[in-house]
C-alpha cells in the first residue's frame, strides 16, 4: 500500500529539524484565557496580542456581546441548514441589511466564511472561456476559487499596474474578464494602487472584484476599504469581505450594485451546499457592522498606533515590509525561518504574541513576524511592545 501521507515527509522533516533546535512550535499556541481584544493568557502568562485580526477590537464590545447572548437565547445555537433551505433566519437578512447600509450598496450575500465567499464568487462568476486576472500575491482563497472554477487564469506581478494593463490588452476583447484585487495584501500589509488598476480594468472591459478583508472598518472615511479611500468604490463590481477581522466574529460576504446579484444565491455552490452561520454570530456581526459605521475616532487611533509601531521598529533597526505604515499590518522581515522562530519565541517569552508567517503563505519565500494592531491597543501598550521587540531582538541577535 502506498502511504498517501508520505508526500508530506519533507515538511515533517523540516518541522522536526526546526523543533530539534529547541524552539517552541509556533503553529500550536494555545490561549488559555482571553482577557480583552489585546490581552490573553498564554502558557500561564499575560501576553499582549499583536497578531490577531481584531483590528477594531469589537470582540468584547458590550453591545455586540449582548446581541449575541439575546440571539442565542431566542433563536438557539444553530440553524442546521443551508441559506436556501431552512438556514435563513430574520437575523441573516438583518445582517445583509447591515452590510448594505455599511457599504451603501444594493445587494449583500452572507457566506459562512470569508474563504467561502472568495471561493464561491470567483468560481461562479468566471466560467469556461472566461478569464480571471489576479495579482500573483493573492490570498489562498482567491487561488482556490480559481482552481474550483473552469476559467483561464492569468497572473500578473504584485501591484504592477503596467503588467496588469499589458495582460488585459492581450486578452480577446469579447471574452469575459474578472480582475481580482485585494485592498490590503495581508502578508506585508501593503496597499494596492486601486485607483489606477480599477480605471484600467474598466477601460479594458473587465469586471473588478476587490477583497477588502484587511481594510474593512479601518481604511476609508466610512471604513469601506481601500477602494473607498482611493475614490473608486463606485467602479468596483464586487467587494468581498469577512466578519473574522474588524467585525470580530466569523463569516464572509459579497456586496454589489450589480442588478443580477441575487441569482448568485442559487448558483454559487459554497453558498448553497453548507450550513448557514449560527443566529448568535449573525446578531454579533450586524451589531458590530452598524457600530463600525460610526467609529471614526477608533480609526484615527488605530492609524496612530500603526504609524507609531512602524516608526519605532524602523528606529530599532528592523527591516519592514513597507516603507511607511499603509495598514494595520506591520511585517517584520526575518532572514530565515530558524531566526524567525527564535525571535517569535523570544517575543512570546517577553509576553508578546505576533504571527510567524512562512512560505508558501508569504511572497518571495520570506519569513515574517507579522504584527497587526488593534484600535484598543493603548499608546502605552505600543511603547511596551517596542521595548519587547528591542529586548528580544538583542537576545537573538536580530538587531
Amino acid at each position: 500500500m502506498t502511504d498517501l501521507l508520505s508526500k508530506f515527509d519533507p515538511l515533517i522533516h523540516e518541522r522536526e529539524t526546526l523543533l530539534a533546535t529547541g524552539v517552541k512550535d509556533p503553529f500550536s499556541l494555545v490561549m488559555e484565557e482571553v482577557i480583552s481584544p489585546t490581552v490573553a493568557i498564554c502558557e500561564g502568562r499575560e501576553t499582549i496580542l499583536l497578531g490577531t485580526y481584531n483590528y477594531m477590537g469589537m470582540t468584547f464590545d458590550d453591545d455586540v456581546r449582548q446581541a449575541g447572548l439575546k440571539a442565542l437565547e431566542e433563536f438557539g445555537s444553530g440553524t442546521t441548514g443551508s441559506r436556501v433551505l431552512n438556514g435563513t433566519y430574520s437575523l441573516h437578512r438583518d445582517c445583509e441589511e447591515a452590510l448594505k447600509e455599511f457599504y451603501d450598496m444594493d445587494h449583500a450575500m452572507v457566506f459562512s466564511t470569508g474563504y467561502q465567499a472568495n471561493l464561491g464568487i470567483i468560481s461562479t462568476l468566471a466560467g469556461k472561456g472566461d478569464y480571471v486576472i489576479l495579482d500573483i500575491d493573492s490570498h489562498a482563497s482567491i487561488y482556490d476559487g480559481c482552481a474550483m472554477g473552469n476559467a483561464e487564469i492569468v497572473a500578473f506581478r504584485h501591484n504592477d499596474v503596467e503588467a496588469l494593463e499589458k495582460r488585459l490588452k492581450r486578452l480577446p476583447p469579447e471574452a469575459g474578464k474578472l480582475v481580482v484585487l485585494e485592498g490590503v495584501y495581508s502578508m506585508l500589509g501593503d496597499v494596492a494602487p486601486l485607483k489606477e488598476m480599477v480605471r484600467i480594468c474598466k477601460e479594458n472591459g473587465a469586471m473588478v472584484l476587490v477583497d477588502e478583508a484587511h481594510s474593512m472598518g479601518f481604511i476609508g472615511e466610512n471604513g469601506r476599504g481601500v477602494c473607498e479611500a482611493q475614490g473608486v468604490i463606485d467602479d468596483v463590481d464586487f467587494i468581498i469581505g469577512t466578519f473574522s477581522k474588524s467585525v470580530g466574529t466569523v463569516g464572509g460576504f459579497c456586496v454589489s450594485n450589480h442588478p443580477k446579484t441575487e441569482i448568485l444565491r442559487l448558483v454559487c455552490r459554497p453558498y448553497v451546499f453548507t450550513a448557514s452561520l449560527p443566529p448568535s454570530v449573525m446578531a454579533t456581526a450586524s451589531t458590530s457592522i452598524r457600530k463600525l459605521m460610526h467609529s471614526g475616532n477608533k480609526r484615527a487611533h488605530l492609524w496612530e498606533n500603526s504609524k507609531k509601531l512602524h516608526q519605532g521598529l524602523r528606529d530599532l533597526g528592523f527591516t519592514l515590509g513597507t516603507p511607511e505604515a499603509q495598514s494595520a499590518i506591520i511585517a517584520v522581515i526575518m532572514p530565515d525561518l530558524e531566526k524567525g522562530a527564535m525571535m517569535w519565541q523570544a517575543l512570546l517569552a517577553e509576553g508578546l504574541y505576533v504571527n510567524l508567517a512562512r512560505p508558501p503563505a508569504t511572497p518571495a519565500n520570506m519569513t515574517l513576524l507579522r504584527c497587526s494592531l488593534c484600535a484598543e491597543h493603548t499608546s502605552e501598550q505600543v511603547d511596551q511592545i517596542l521595548g519587547m521587540f528591542e529586548a528580544a531582538g538583542k537576545a537573538v541577535g536580530a538587531i
Binding site: I153, R157, K166, R167, R170, N365
Partner: protein, 81 residues
C-alpha cells in the same frame, strides 16, 4: 511569423539571466528539474516570455509546460492564434 527555431533561440536567450547554474539548453531541458527554478523565478521568466512575444501564457497552460521544447511549441501555437 517566427518559426520554431527562431522561437527556441529567443527563449534560450530569455532563459539566460535566470540560468544561474549555466545548464546547457536542449528542447528536453526542464524548468523545475534541470534549471531548478522556484515559483518566483518561473513567474518572472513567464512574464519575460509573454512580453517578448506579446502573448498570454495562462496558469492553466503553464501547468502542462515542463520543458524548453514544450514551451517553444506552446509559444508557436499562441502566435498562430
Amino acid at each position: 511569423m517566427a518559426n520554431r527555431e527562431d522561437i527556441m533561440a529567443k527563449i534560450s536567450e530569455l532563459i539566460g539571466p535566470f540560468n544561474n547554474k549555466g545548464v546547457a539548453l536542449t528542447p528536453e531541458t526542464t524548468f523545475q528539474g534541470d534549471l531548478e527554478w522556484d515559483s518566483l523565478t518561473v513567474m518572472d521568466f513567464v512574464a519575460a516570455v509573454e512580453d517578448e512575444f506579446d502573448i498570454i501564457i495562462t496558469m492553466n497552460m503553464q501547468a502542462d509546460i515542463e520543458s524548453v521544447g514544450q514551451l517553444s511549441d506552446a509559444v508557436a501555437k499562441l502566435m498562430e492564434n
